[in-house]
Symmetry: C2
Subunit: 222 residues, 2 copies
């Protein structure tokens, strides 16, 4: 993934959600576009089921939604093709996973290399990987006795919770914390960090080099 990212126009963002998440990271990105923080617009929200709260919320924000159910596709490749058709039809520049609890098909990850982001509610590469989502993450952090957690915004590659890290924001952990109190504190930082990462991307300021994400201050070639 040595992709150059130089979008000069207002970028077109697709957000992918699944399951029963409230869609608060999705909402933060939509708001970030509305307020002009992000040089872009959320052109599409892709969900796995129509009754997901995030899908309702997207509709209330007048964002186009598309339901692509993995259960209706015989295999990963067919599911991936359906996703790519939706992304292509909307001329999407950037895909943001926001509470998307599934493994994204490899064909999508390969085609959109360097153009898919995710946010994780801990400091990756720790407290990530299979089964580490939602409250499971915060339970593990609290049990570890650590006094610092945080969130990670990263580009998505074919490994789970892997890929070059764009931003990590630390969050204090208090000895009195429960997974719930910690989750609430981290979630706030997820919102602001995700908007900041997409803002930098939308200004063409992120460059992936040797697996690391560098910040560049202009759009000129090095």
């Amino acid at each position: 993934m040595n992709t150059e990212i130089h979008p000069m126009h207002k970028i077109r963002i697709a957000i992918m959600v699944s399951g029963h998440g409230r869609g608060s990271n999705m909402q933060a990105l939509i708001n970030g576009c509305h307020t002009g923080m992000i040089n872009g617009e959320v052109a599409l929200v892709i969900g796995t089921r129509s009754d997901a709260p995030a899908i309702q919320r997207a509709k209330e924000s007048s964002v186009d939604t598309r339901i692509i159910s993995p259960n209706r596709h015989p295999d990963d490749n067919s599911y991936g093709q359906a996703i790519m058709e939706a992304l292509d039809s909307k001329k999407i520049d950037l895909v943001c996973l926001a509470g998307f609890m599934r493994y994204l098909p490899s064909c999508v990850v390969r085609k959109y290399a360097g153009k898919i982001m995710n946010v994780h509610p801990a400091l990756l590469p720790f407290f990530g990987g299979k089964g580490m989502y939602g409250e499971h993450v915060h339970q593990a952090v609290v049990a570890s006795g650590m006094r610092v957690s945080g969130c990670t915004v990263h580009f998505v590659d074919e490994d789970y919770d892997n890929g070059p890290i764009i931003l990590q924001t630390p969050v204090p952990v208090y000895p009195e914390d429960t997974p719930e109190t910690l989750a609430a504190r981290v979630l706030e930082k997820e919102h602001s960090s995700y908007v900041e990462a997409v803002r930098l991307y939308s200004l063409g300021m992120l460059k992936i080099k040797n697996g690391k994400v560098f910040l560049c201050n202009d759009n000129s070639e090095e």
Copy 2:
């Protein structure tokens, strides 16, 4: 380790150093006592060799020093006994490891349970354990691609780099960082975090409960 820590007097601190460290954490603790931040005094510095820079520095600060060489002791127990005799003779309340690169004998750790602190230049339990000291730690953090590192002040138990965490202070990691630039940034926070942890201890504000360190605002029993 459910030790109650209620020192009401000015605490007497011993600092243990080894090898060729510059003794900057030691110096930070000595300064913290001189300025009154810490309600205590550094009554003894124990080193493993007389030519260590930290030992010279301690002498320049007019702190008593004692050299106890592990090479002159046939086994861990005999080495531990020599350390405990030195600590006892100075009526030490708190032992602070500062660049002490050796495994502290178990008999010392048991006798001074809840009264030995260490600082580690990363966010434990990650980037710790055998072989993870000095530049090795920062090399591993830089290689990980993480954007947050930090330092950890913790009570010492019989496992290496383990024991209840008192404080963790995050430090940003930049993609341009080398192990050296990161080490310098973390070291600054080691100094301030170590002084803060010892300050809290010296005021009787730290309480270990179920393997976690709680902050209490007064010296009264719960």
